[in-house]
C-alpha cells in the first residue's frame, strides 16, 4: 500500500489522458474548422452543425476534451513553473492556480455547451 496519500497519480492520469485526447482530437477539429470548411472543401449547413452540437454525445465528448485538455495544461504549466522558473517554494498557490484554473475552465466549457 502507498501510505503517503498523494493526489499525484490522479493528476497524472488527467494529464496523460488530456494529452492523449488533445493529440487525437484537436488536429481533426482544426482540420475541419480551420482548413476544410473555410476553404469550402465541404459546406455543412448551420442547422446541420447546430443539430450535431445539440446531440448530448457531442456535448459530452466536447466537454471531456475541453476539461481533460485543461487539466493537461494545468499539470504541465505547474511543473514548468516548478522546474523551469524554479518556483517550487510557492508550490501550494501555484497548484491552486493551475488546477483551479482547469476547474474554472471546465465549468465555463460546461456552461457554454449547455447554453448554446
Amino acid at each position: 500500500m502507498n501510505h503517503r496519500r498523494s493526489p499525484e497519480p490522479l493528476l497524472w492520469l488527467l494529464f496523460s489522458s488530456g494529452g492523449m485526447a488533445a493529440a487525437l482530437m484537436v488536429p481533426i477539429l482544426l482540420f475541419l474548422f480551420g482548413i476544410a470548411i473555410p476553404l469550402d472543401w465541404f459546406d455543412p449547413s448551420y442547422d446541420h452543425l447546430s443539430a450535431v452540437l445539440h446531440n448530448w454525445i457531442t456535448r459530452l465528448i466536447l466537454f471531456g476534451l475541453s476539461a481533460l485538455a485543461l487539466f493537461h495544461w494545468a499539470h504541465r504549466f505547474r511543473y514548468t513553473l516548478y522546474d523551469g522558473l524554479q518556483l517550487k517554494r510557492y508550490g501550494t498557490p501555484i497548484a491552486a492556480l493551475c488546477y483551479g484554473g482547469a476547474v474554472a475552465g471546465s465549468v465555463i466549457a460546461a456552461a457554454l455547451l449547455l447554453t448554446i
Partner: protein, 247 residues
C-alpha cells in the same frame, strides 16, 4: 591529422584547491584512443597526481563516467578523434559531489538503489531440486532491455530533475526496479510500489528524457518511468475503488 590534442581537465585537490580549477595537458591524438586513454597517458607520463575512476576499458563496468565537453559519457567509449582538433574539456559527472579531480561521491545512488529491491523477490522459494524457474523468450524480452544497465550514473548526471531535487530516486534505480517488476519469475512488484510511487519516486519525473539520451547501453529509463506511472496510477484508482481488496 594533428598528432596532439589538448585535454582541459578539471582538477580538485581538497588539500590545496578551494574550488575546482582547469588544467591543460597535451596528449597524443591517436586514432583508437578514447578520452580514458588520454587520461591514462597524463597519469603515466605527465602528472601522476591526476585521479579518476576506471576499470574495464570496454563499456561494461560503468566506472569511468565523466562530463566531456558538457555531455555525460563513458570516457572509455568516447574517442579523442571525434573532438579533434580540440581542446577537449573533461570534468567530473554533474549533479554529484566531487571527492577529488574526476572522482565523484556515488554514495547517494548506492543508498537509493537497494530501496527498490533490484533482485528477484519470491513469496516462496522453490527448492533447488525442483529445477530452474523457466522463462520463454517472450518473457525475457519484456525486461531484457532494462537488464543492460551498468549503474554508470550518466542518467543521474543528465537528469535536470535530479539536479533540482536530490531526493529523486532517479532514472537507473527506477529502470532497474522495472527490470525485476517485468520479470516473469519475480513476485516483488507490490513491495516496490510504495517506494516507486512516492513523491520522490516516479512522480518527481517530468519526462524530460535526457536519461534515455545519455544512456550508453540503450536502456530507456524515461520509458520505464512513463510505463510505471500508468501501472502506479491504475493501482491508485483500484485502491480508491476497492479500498479493502488485497493486492
Amino acid at each position: 591529422m594533428a598528432d596532439e590534442i589538448t585535454l582541459e581537465v578539471a582538477r580538485y585537490r581538497p588539500e590545496v584547491d578551494s574550488s575546482p580549477v582547469m588544467q591543460s595537458y597535451q596528449v597524443p591524438l591517436r586514432e583508437h584512443w578514447a578520452v580514458l586513454d588520454g587520461l591514462t597517458y597524463i597519469k603515466d607520463q605527465l602528472d601522476g597526481t591526476l585521479s579518476f575512476r576506471w576499470s574495464c576499458r570496454m563499456g561494461i563496468c560503468g566506472s569511468c563516467g565523466m562530463t566531456v565537453n558538457g555531455e555525460p559519457v563513458l570516457s572509455c567509449a568516447t574517442f579523442l578523434t571525434d573532438y579533434a582538433p580540440g581542446p577537449v574539456r573533461v570534468e567530473p559527472l554533474h549533479n554529484f559531489p566531487v571527492i577529488r579531480d574526476l572522482v565523484i561521491d556515488i554514495e547517494d545512488f548506492m543508498a537509493k538503489l537497494p530501496t527498490v529491491k533490484p533482485w528477484i523477490v519470491r513469496d516462496v522459494q522453490s527448492p533447488v531440486e525442483q529445477g530452474e524457474y523457466l522463462q520463454t523468450p517472450e518473457e525475457l524480452e519484456e525486461y531484457q532491455q532494462y537488464s543492460m544497465c551498468i549503474n554508470c550514473m550518466l542518467c543521474y548526471s543528465a537528469c535536470p530533475v535530479y539536479a533540482l531535487e536530490p531526493e529523486f530516486i532517479g532514472p537507473a534505480a527506477i529502470a532497474l526496479a522495472q527490470r525485476y517488476n517485468l520479470d516473469s519469475r519475480d513476485e516483488g512488484a507490490a513491495e516496490r510500489l510504495e517506494v516507486l510511487s512516492s513523491p520522490e519516486g516516479i512522480w518527481a519525473c517530468t519526462f524530460v528524457g535526457e536519461c534515455s539520451a545519455a544512456c550508453p547501453k540503450g536502456v530507456d529509463p524515461a520509458g520505464a518511468i512513463q510505463r510505471y506511472k500508468l501501472t502506479a496510477a491504475t493501482q491508485t484508482v483500484k485502491n480508491l475503488l476497492m479500498p479493502r481488496s488485497k493486492r
